[in-house]
Symmetry: D3
Subunit: 63 residues, 6 copies
């Protein structure tokens, strides 16, 4: 622990690399534990699996 | 916020559309916030990733 | 399974009762399983444990 | 309820079968409910979706 | 990683101790990683925050 | 969406304020969406609800 889970869109490996690095850095600045204690889980969601405002993102965001 | 996550089986886009609409409607009737404040995450699980009663659903439900 | 988790504000027991009933009803209309197969988890979050737009809700919403 | 979610690596069906059986058994030894009350969700994560110590597992673990 | 989360009832510290020990043991038998890699999160839910079959557990289970 | 959930120890309001601000900033640098689209959920866990290496943190960390 701590465990950071981010539910977001599909990302490239470079974006994931940056996300893991910077989310860990931001959390460590508040919770002073060794870096190895921090786990980040990236959950990629396609637009047809996410609803906002009662509508599928896939119906709100043109391809 | 609020965020509704549903862990369930694989669904069609139409089923997801109905689910997002009606889960948001049900939640808004209790939590009076603008529709845009509500996020729904649909998590589709194959039967070999779910266990009930100590057995894989894939072993309990014939194909 | 299915499991519906709602991350939201603190609620009264009556609100929770309505939420559980109507979220289950909405999900069953899409996923035709017995009512007993549906679990709803209500997660109540105080405003100082939720951030939107980079700010704590507790700082955005006057008491 | 109870619901056990395991976030882990990709697994074979046999590994999932054993995991579901033994996690349910371990939990039932503490929470004396019928086996059917226990749900296990297996979440398989590829190494480029997991960060430990600020780095992607994909960058830490040679293929 | 791996991370095991159990959503269940309120438990005593001894029950939690046994749960953490045996869930970790069960998972390690399938996923051969050092014990230190395994995190268990115990989420205690009161009966009025859980719904099964469209009803609050608090209404289904007499005190 | 995106939704960032951090499972961690108990924190002060100032720590939460910093966490929400900096986790949102780190995520926005990768996922270019308006700040209002980002939700952060802070989940505080007492040491007797977390296990690492098969032991309760409460048993590993002296008070």
């Amino acid at each position: 622990m701590p465990i950071i889970t981010i539910e977001g869109p599909c990302l490239s490996t470079d974006q994931k690399r940056q996300l893991v690095r910077d989310l860990t850095k931001a959390a460590r600045a508040v919770i002073p534990l060794p870096a190895e204690a921090f786990t980040v889980l990236i959950k990629e969601n396609s637009h047809d699996n996410v609803g906002v405002g009662g509508e599928l993102l896939a119906d709100k965001i043109p391809n």
